[in-house]
């Protein structure tokens, strides 16, 4: 089945959804950034929209709110993640659900900070909410949990921030200090100019909060405030050296268990399953009857995250 998509957020993820939608048999009928919108009921041409954004800084002539008045089936919410009330993302989702449209989220805010509100809105709507892209980019974490049944998964742990993992694994491999590797990561585009979200563990914590919400199956609602979060700024090169001498290394590991959510730098055996290198991500699911399942892959990036978004769209069929 072919869906008409309305995409909010013209960053790396939104842009890639616009580029790749037709390869999944869907079309984008509305595309908006924070200031402008491009609308075409017959389907937008990704190249001309992208070219205009680059040339003029706007994606089209429309007002962003006009997106909701178009005839779309699925809202793709890919605006930047915000904490607390998760606005404006949450209001976008609310509007679409009130109009009985489906919603696919790449924005972690509404799922991590207002999971209960989100599920309540969904329950009243004909539309459904999917959010595979919020956890681990292209890695099918949530769909795997859904296939297993949340009640059969007792814990999820792993590495869900490529920036922090790149920094730690590069510090360990080259014996370089944090500041040096961070600057290098920024040059490579692996770390953002303001790396706070990544290196302080907030991004990873949001993902594990989402996992905890999914695993608890609405019995308990988690928010970022409920998570124990420690970043990697306090891990000096000397700690990595001492770990290496003992056949270990340090990774920023998140855990979503019955005890809650915790993200912190942890010692793991060198070369072990969770000691992935570079920007690689991994999730380990502890199952009730089938031992451990490990899924790894690229946890970030435009086309990678758009792949998860478009898989979610296809699941709505």
């Amino acid at each position: 089945m072919s869906f008409r998509l309305a995409v909010l957020g013209a960053g790396a993820v939104g842009g890639s959804v616009l580029d790749l939608a037709d390869t999944y048999g869907h079309e984008v009928v509305a595309f908006a950034d924070s200031a402008s919108a491009a609308i075409d009921p017959d389907g937008l041409d990704s190249q001309s929209v992208r070219a205009r954004k680059e040339r003029e800084g706007v994606v089209g002539d429309g007002d962003p709110t006009a997106v909701f008045d178009t005839d779309y089936d699925v809202l793709v919410e890919a605006t930047p993640t915000t904490l607390g009330d998760a606005e404006p993302g949450f209001s976008h989702v609310e509007r679409a659900l009130l109009d009985d449209r489906h919603v696919v989220l790449a924005n972690k805010g509404p799922v991590a900070e207002r999971y209960g509100d989100l599920r309540a809105l969904e329950a009243e709507s004909e539309g459904r909410v999917q959010f595979e892209a919020t956890v681990g980019g292209a890695i099918p974490v949530l769909s795997t949990i859904s296939d297993l049944g949340a009640g059969h998964v007792t814990a999820a742990r792993g590495v869900l921030n490529g920036t922090a993992n790149f920094i730690l694994s590069r510090m360990a491999a080259e014996g370089l200090d944090y500041e040096h590797v961070l600057a290098e990561a920024q040059d490579l585009g692996v770390a953002e100019a303001d790396p706070t979200f990544d290196v302080d563990g907030i991004d990873a914590a949001l993902k594990f909060v989402i996992l905890a919400n999914v695993l608890s199956d609405e019995a308990t609602e988690y928010r970022l405030d409920d998570a124990g979060v420690e970043g990697i700024r306090n891990v000096p090169g000397t700690a990595l050296d001492l770990a290496a001498e003992d056949g270990r290394t340090v990774r920023l590991i998140g855990e979503a268990t019955a005890d809650g959510v915790r993200v912190a730098p942890r010692l793991v055996p060198k070369g072990s399953t969770l000691a992935v290198t570079g920007t690689q991500n991994i999730v380990q699911l502890e199952t009730q009857h089938a031992g451990q399942l490990n899924i790894s892959g690229r946890g970030a990036g435009g086309p990678e995250t758009a792949t998860a978004v478009l898989s979610d769209v296809s699941r709505l069929e």
């Binding site: 891990v235 000397t238 700690a239 001492l242 770990a243 942890r266 010692l267 793991v268």
Partner: protein, 189 residues
């Protein structure tokens, strides 16, 4: 369906399977005669034990005039009884044996102003309140006492007490404004 037993509890042994070796300590008393130490170590190797270290307290005699020797060895938990029996059969005087002395080991890293926050006091308090023995310490402080340094600690706690020991370390570290890089104990290596 095959008739194979696929239940995790009844896994057939493959390479890498079986019970993981655990460290144990035995304390022996030897008669001060040549060849006694070698005679005492043989039953350990012959019964599947792997020697880790031998502390031979020569010059420190027991009231009965014997030489105390402390042997750390590693073996699967189910082999340990057999090793102690073999030692006794060989006429070796086993004073104390058991896994409770060494139980579980856990490695962690402390980060911060370790020197100014008095590392030896930190270690002393960990042993006191965590009911654990600090069996190894490695300190890395390349910039002297001025900057952040790291220390890797190996703690031996009684079986089942690792979580409590780690919690105690966390409390002491928080009080001294140190960071703890804890091990991820649940992970499959």
């Amino acid at each position: 369906m095959s008739a194979q037993n696929l239940d995790g509890e009844g896994d057939a042994e493959t390479d890498g399977g079986g019970e993981m070796p655990k460290p144990h300590t035995v304390r022996l008393e030897l008669v001060d005669e040549p060849g006694q130490l070698l005679a005492a170590l043989q039953p350990i190797a012959e019964n599947g034990g792997n020697l880790l270290s031998i502390f031979h307290e020569r010059g420190n005699l027991t009231p009965r005039g014997h030489i105390p020797v402390e042997v750390d060895l590693e073996c699967p938990p189910d082999r340990f009884e057999g090793i102690v029996d073999a030692l006794r059969d060989a006429g070796v005087n086993v004073i104390r044996a058991g896994a409770e002395h060494f139980g579980e080991e856990v490695t962690l890293i402390l980060v911060g102003d370790l020197v100014d926050s008095d590392l030896s006091d930190t270690l002393y308090r960990i042993e006191e309140s965590a009911d654990a023995t600090v069996t190894d310490v490695s300190l890395s402080a390349p910039s002297g006492t001025k900057e952040t340094s790291s220390a890797r600690l190996r703690l031996a706690a009684r079986s089942g007490q690792t979580t409590a020991a780690l919690a105690a370390v966390r409390d002491i570290a928080a009080e001294k404004e140190l960071h703890v890089v804890e091990p991820l104990t649940e992970e499959s290596a």
